[in-house]
C-alpha cells in the first residue's frame, strides 16, 4: 500500500513535468501548425540558463525560474521571428510549409543542444543546491513526498488552467483561435498573426523552461541529451490528448506518466516505451483525433 502511494506520487510529479512540457508543444502545433522539434532543446535550455545564472549570482528559485523562463521564451521567439515566420511567408503550400518548419526546427534544436553541450563539456550539469534545496516529507513511515513534487503538481495544474482560460476567454486567446481558424481572414480584422505567433512561441518556450528547471532540480543532474527523450514522450502526450486541446494534454500527460510508472513498478522497465506507445497506438486506432478533440475547424 505504501509502495503504491509512493508510485502514485511519482506518477503525479512525472505527469506534471510532461504536462508543462507538452502544453507548449500542443499550443504551437494546434494554433500555428508548427511541429516544433526544438521544444526538447528549449526544455534543456531552461535548466542550462538557470545553471549559468545561479553560478553567476546567488539567487533563489523564485528569481532563477522566471529568468530561465523569460530567456528561453525569448529564444523561442527568436525561432519564430528568424525561422518560422520566414517559412510561413515564403512557402505557400501548407504541407510543404509544415515539413519545412519541422526540418528547420530540427536544425534549431541541434544548434541549441550543441551550444549547451559545448558549454557544459558534454557532461552532467546541475543547478546549484543553493537555488533550491529539495526536502523530503515522510507520511506515516514509508510514504515519501518532496516539496518539489508538490510545486510541480500545483504549477502544472495552475498553468494548465490559466492557459486554458487565457486561450478561451482572453482577447489574445480569441485572436489566437481566430488565427488558428484562418490566418488571412483574421488579418483582415486587424489581428496580427506575427505578433500572436511570437507570443505563442514565447509562452511555449517559457513552459518548456519551467518544466526543465523543476525537473532538473528534482533529479540529481542532467546532460545535453535530456530533451530528446522528453520530446518523444511529449508528442505522445499531445497526440493522445488531442492536438491543441489543453485539457487533453494535461490529462494525457498524467495518463502516460501513470502508465510508465505502472510498467516500472511491475519490474519490466525496459518495456516502458513498448507498453506505453503500444497503448497509445491502440487508443489512436479507436480515436484518431486523440482522447479530447480540440475545438477547431479544419482549414482547407
Amino acid at each position: 500500500m505504501d509502495q503504491t502511494a509512493n508510485q502514485i506520487i511519482d506518477a503525479l510529479a512525472l505527469g506534471s513535468v510532461y504536462a508543462l512540457f507538452a502544453l507548449g508543444l500542443s499550443l504551437v502545433w494546434g494554433i500555428l501548425d508548427v511541429l516544433n522539434l526544438a521544444q526538447g532543446a528549449l526544455f534543456l535550455l531552461g535548466p542550462f540558463t538557470a545553471y549559468e545564472v545561479a553560478r553567476a549570482l546567488p539567487m533563489p528559485l523564485v528569481a532563477v525560474l522566471p529568468i530561465a523562463m523569460v530567456v528561453t521564451g525569448l529564444v523561442s521567439v527568436a525561432l519564430e521571428v528568424g525561422i518560422f515566420r520566414y517559412v510561413r511567408r515564403s512557402v505557400d503550400d501548407r504541407k510543404r510549409r509544415e515539413l519545412t518548419m519541422l526540418i528547420t526546427s530540427i536544425g534549431a534544436a541541434a544548434i541549441i543542444t550543441q551550444v549547451v553541450a559545448n558549454k557544459t563539456g558534454d557532461t552532467i550539469f546541475y543547478i546549484p543546491r543553493k537555488v533550491f534545496q529539495p526536502v523530503t516529507y515522510t507520511i506515516g513511515s514509508k510514504v515519501h513526498v518532496t516539496n518539489l513534487d508538490v510545486i510541480l503538481l500545483v504549477l502544472a495544474l495552475a498553468l494548465g488552467v490559466a492557459l486554458a482560460q487565457w486561450v478561451r476567454r482572453s482577447r489574445h486567446g480569441r485572436a489566437l483561435r481566430a488565427v488558428a481558424f484562418d490566418v488571412r481572414t483574421s488579418g483582415l480584422f486587424g489581428v496580427s498573426a506575427d505578433r500572436l505567433a511570437a507570443l505563442t512561441l514565447f509562452v511555449s518556450g517559457a513552459l518548456a523552461a519551467a518544466a526543465g528547471v523543476l525537473f532538473s532540480l528534482s533529479v540529481g543532474g542532467i546532460d545535453s541529451s535530456v530533451g530528446d527523450g522528453y520530446l518523444l514522450t511529449a508528442f505522445a502526450v499531445v497526440i493522445l490528448g488531442g492536438v491543441g486541446s489543453i485539457a487533453g494534454t494535461v490529462i494525457g500527460a498524467f495518463l502516460v506518466a501513470g502508465a510508465e510508472t505502472a510498467v516500472i513498478a511491475a519490474g519490466v522497465g525496459q518495456w516502458q516505451n513498448a507498453v506505453v506507445f503500444g497503448v497509445i497506438l491502440l487508443v489512436l486506432a479507436l480515436r484518431p483525433e486523440g482522447l479530447f478533440r480540440a475545438q477547431r475547424t479544419q482549414r482547407v
Binding site: 508510485q7 540529481g220 541529451s225
Partner: protein, 410 residues
Amino acid sequence: MKPRSNPLRGRLAVGVLAGAAALTLAACSSSSSSSSSSSSSAAGASSATSAGGTAKLPATIPVAYVGDQTGAAGYVGVQLLEGMKLRLDELNASHFLGNSTIQLTVKDTQSNQQNAISLMNQVASSNALAVIGPLLSNEGLATEPIAAKAGLPYLEAVNEDTQILTMGNNIYRTTVSQLLYNPLTIPYLQKNNVTSVAMVYDSDNPTLVQVGTQQYPSLLKKANMKLVSSDGIPIADTNVASLASKIAGENPGAVGLMVIGPQNPDLITALRNDGYKGIIFGETAMQAGALKPAGALANGVVYPMDYTPDLTYPTSQAFTKAFEAAYPGSTPNAYDAEGYDTMTFLANAIKDAPAATRAGLLKGMAAVAAKGFTGAVGPLKWFGPGNKNVTTPGVLVKWENGKETIAALG
C-alpha cells in the same frame, strides 16, 4: 583542487552511444591536429623497461591517435589524450628513446564510425608506426581490420569490446576492462553483512547488460547473496523516481547501479529521498565527480575502478602529482591515467622493438606484454591468447563529501 569535468557515461562498448553518434548531426569531415613533442619537466611515473631492442630509431617516430575528440565519446577521448600528452612530454623530455622523439598525430572520429574508417585508412597508408584506436566498439570493430591488413600495430584503449582482440595479430589492449575489477565490490558487501541486492542496468548498453545480468548475478550467487530484483532501463530514460520507489519498497541490503550519465546521481537522489538507507554500489561511470550532482546523498556510494588519485602505488602517486603540475587546478581521473599508461606501453614497445618498423614494433609490443609494467593504474599484466588482454588489481572507491577515498585495494 577542483574536480575535473565530471561524469562519465561509462565504458564504451556501447551500441547505444554508437547509435547516438550516428544520429549526431556532425559535419562529415574530420578535424585533425597534432601534438607537439615539446618537453616538460613533469615527474616521470613508471620506469622504462630495459632497452631490449636493437633498432636504430629515426629522429621522429610518427604515431597516430584515431580517437573521439568530439561527439558522444568525445569527453572521454579528450581526457585520454591529456594523459597521453603528459606521458609523451615526459618521455621526450627525458630522452627515453635517446635522440628520437615520438610525434603524435590526433585525428578526431567525432564518435562516428564512417569517419573512423576513413581516418584509419589514412593512417594505415601513412608512415605511422602505430595507432591508438577509437573508443566506441563499433568504431573499433570497423577499424581494426584496416590496421591489421596494413600490419599497423593497434592499441585498444577504453573500448570494452573483447571480440576485437581476436581480429588480428596486431592488437593489444592497454586499458583494463571493468569486468576484471568489478568483483572487488563483493567482499565489501559481505563485510557490511549484505544478504540481498537489487540490480539496475542500462538495457541498451551491451557492457552494462553483461555486468548487470551476468557478472553480478553470478558473483552474488557465489557469495550467497539474494538477487531480489533486476531492472533494465533505457539509457535515455530520465524517469527514475518510480523505479527508485519500487526498489526502496523492496528494501534490499544493497543496490547496484550499472547505469551511465545522469542516471547515476538521479537514481541515488531518488533512492535516498525514498528513504533507502542501504549500500549503493556502481561501476566506472560513477568516477570523476559524476556523483557530485547528488550532493551529500551520494556519500558512502562505492564503485570499483582501476585508478583513483589516492591510489597508493608510487607510480600512481607520481602520475597524480605530474598531472596536477601539468594541468593546474585539475584532478586526474581514470581516463587520464589510462591515456598515460597507453603511451608508456607504446614507448616501451618502441624501445624493445628489434627494428623501427611496424613488424618490429609488434615484436616490441609482445615483449612489453610478456613483462608487464607498473603504470599510473598500478601493476599491469597482460594475459589471455597472445597476451593481448590486460589486467590490474583495481581499487574500490568510496565517494565521501565530494571526494573519492579508497574503500579497499584489489
